[in-house]
C-alpha cells in the first residue's frame, strides 16, 4: 500500500532522507525510530507531500505521491489521518469543532457531523470535554482529541509522529492502546517514536533510520541503544512544525 523507492530529500545542505526504499502493507503497525534529526519527520512529510522529494518515488494506493498535482494534494492528505507531538489542534476551536473541522473539509453534511463527533468523543473518552478549548485539556487529552480527529473520516493510514513524546508513561500507554485498537480495525498505523518501552512491549515491525538512511527493518523488532538520542537539537529556522 505504501512503497518508497530510492527516495532522497535534502534541505539545502542538510540531509532529510537519503535513498530510502521500503514497503508497508495494508493493515501493518510500523514503528519508525531513530535519533533526533535522523529524518523521521521528513519521511512522514514526504508521504503527506508536505515536502517534495528530490529523487525517487512514493507509491501509495496505486499512485505516485511525488507526482501529485497541487490540486490533488489536499484529497491525498484527507485519505490519511495525522497526529503529531504538538501543534495538532486548532487553538481557537473547541474540542468538538476541531473534530468537526476534519469532517467539514470533506464536506460531510451537518447532521452527520452532529451525530458522529459525539460518538467519536465517546470512543476516546472525552464526551464531557466537547465544549472545551484545547488549552483547557491535559496534553494526553489533547492527543486523544487529535487521534479522534485523525480517524473520524476512516482513513486507510494513520500517521503518528511522536504522539507520546510529551506524555507521561501512563498517558502514553493509553494512547498506544487507542492506536492498537485503531490498527485492529484494519487501519495501517505508522508511528514515529523514541520510546524504548513502547517499542519493546508492542512487538511490531521496527524501521530504524539514521542520518537519513535506513539502517534496520525488523518484524517484532526491539529497540536498540543506537536509536537513542543525543540531547534534543534545536529546530532549524523555518522548519515546519512536526
Amino acid at each position: 500500500m505504501i512503497e518508497y523507492k530510492n527516495v532522497s530529500k535534502k534541505y539545502g545542505k542538510n540531509i532529510g532522507v537519503e535513498d530510502i526504499s521500503l514497503r508497508i502493507d495494508g493493515g501493518e503497525f510500523v514503528f519508525l525510530v531513530g535519533p533526533s534529526g535522523a529524518g523521521k519527520s521528513t519521511f512522514v512529510k514526504l508521504l503527506l507531500k508536505m515536502v517534495d522529494a528530490d529523487r525517487g518515488s512514493i507509491m501509495y494506493n496505486g499512485y505516485d505521491v511525488t507526482k501529485l498535482r497541487p490540486r490533488t494534494i489536499p484529497g491525498h492528505r484527507r485519505s490519511m489521518g495525522i497526529v503529531f507531538q504538538d501543534f495538532s489542534l486548532l487553538p481557537k476551536k473547541t474540542v468538538f469543532e476541531n473534530i468537526a473541522f476534519a469532517m467539514e473539509i470533506v464536506q460531510k453534511p451537518r447532521n452527520t457531523i452532529m451525530k458522529q463527533v459525539p460518538m467519536m468523543l465517546d470512543i476516546v473518552g472525552l464526551r464531557e470535554e466537547a465544549k472545551k478549548y484545547p488549552q483547557e485539556l491535559s496534553i494526553g487529552e489533547q492527543q486523544r482529541v487529535a487521534i479522534a480527529r485523525s480517524i473520524i473520516n476512516n482513513p486507510g493510514v494513520l500517521i503518528a509522529d511522536e504522539p507520546t513524546g510529551n506524555l507521561d508513561p501512563d498517558t502514553g500507554w493509553e494512547i498506544m492502546r487507542l492506536l492498537e485498537q485503531i490498527n485492529r480495525r484494519g487501519t495501517t498505523v505508522l508511528m514515529v517514536t523514541h520510546s524504548r518501552e513502547i517499542v519493546n512491549a508492542m512487538n511490531k515491525r521496527v524501521i530504524a533510520i539514521r542520518d537519513g538512511r535506513l539502517v534496520r527493518d525488523e518484524r517484532g523488532g526491539l529497540y536498540h541503544p543506537e536509536y537513542d538520542d543525543e540531547p534534543e537539537q534545536p529546530k532549524p529556522e523555518g522548519a515546519l512544525p512536526l
Partner: protein, 296 residues
Amino acid sequence: MSTVRAILRQAFAQMNRNKMMAAASLFSIAAILLVLGIFLIIVVNINAMARDVQDNFDQVQINLFDAVSPVESQEMMDEIGLMPGVASTEYQTREAALESWKVRWGENADLLDRMPTNPLPNSIIITLADIEYAEGVVESVNAMIGVESINYSQDTVDQLLHLARVVQIVSLIVILVLVVISITVVSNTIKLTVLAREREIVIMRYIGATNWYIRGPFLLEGIAIGIIAAVISSVAIGFIYYYAIENLGHDLAMFMPMGFVPLRFVVENLAIIFVALGVSIGACGSIISMRRFLER
C-alpha cells in the same frame, strides 16, 4: 452548502478577532476611494462643462458695458448683422441671462438667488452661419466701442477639453498608484493575522484543507472590509459633493453656466465603482497576503 456556511462563520469570527487590522485596512481603502471619488467628480464636471460649451459652438456672445444704452446696442446689432457669416443677432438682457442660467442650474438654482447683485452683463448673442466665420466676426466686433468682452466658444471648448484630458490622465495615474498602495496596505495588515495564524494554517494543510478553504475566511474578510469601506466612502462623498455645491457653487457659478452634474447621478455611479474597487482591493490584498503560506 455546509462548506459555504462554515467559511462564512469563520470569516465573521475572524473579523471580530482582528478589529485593529480590519480597521486599518478599512481606513486605507475608504481613504483611497474618497480621493478617487473627488477626482472623478472633478473629471465629470469638467467634461459636462466642455460638452455644454460645445453645444453653443456656433454662437458668439458679446458682453456690453453697462453704460451702453439700448439704442446704442441696437445700432451695434444692425452693424453686426451686416457682417459676413452672421445668421442672426439677439439682444439678451442681464435679467434674461440670469433666468437662463437658473434654468440650466436646475436643482441648484437657488445658489444664484443668493448672489447679492446680478453679476451678468447685457449682451448680444450672435448666431453664426458657419463656425468658420467665428474668427473674422470676433475680430471685427472687438474693434467696436462698448464691447466689454467676448465669449467665443472655440477657445473655451479647447481649453476645457484640454483641461479635462489633463485631469483624466493625472487622476488615472493617481488612482493606479493609490490602488497599488491600498492593496499593499491591505495585504500587509492581513499578512500580520496570517502570520499569527501560521500554525493553524499548517495544521489545516496537514489535515487536507484546500487552498480555497484556508483562504476563504481571509478572502471574505477582505471583501467584507472592501464593501464596508465602499459604503462609508459613498456616503462621505455624497456629503462632500453636497457641501461643495452649496459652498463653492456660489464662487464657481460664473464659470459653470450649465451647473453641476447632479448629486444623485454622481453618488449612484460612484457607489457602484466604489463597491467594485473596494471588493477587488480587499480580495487581492488577502490573496496576496496568503500566497507563501499555501501550496505552491
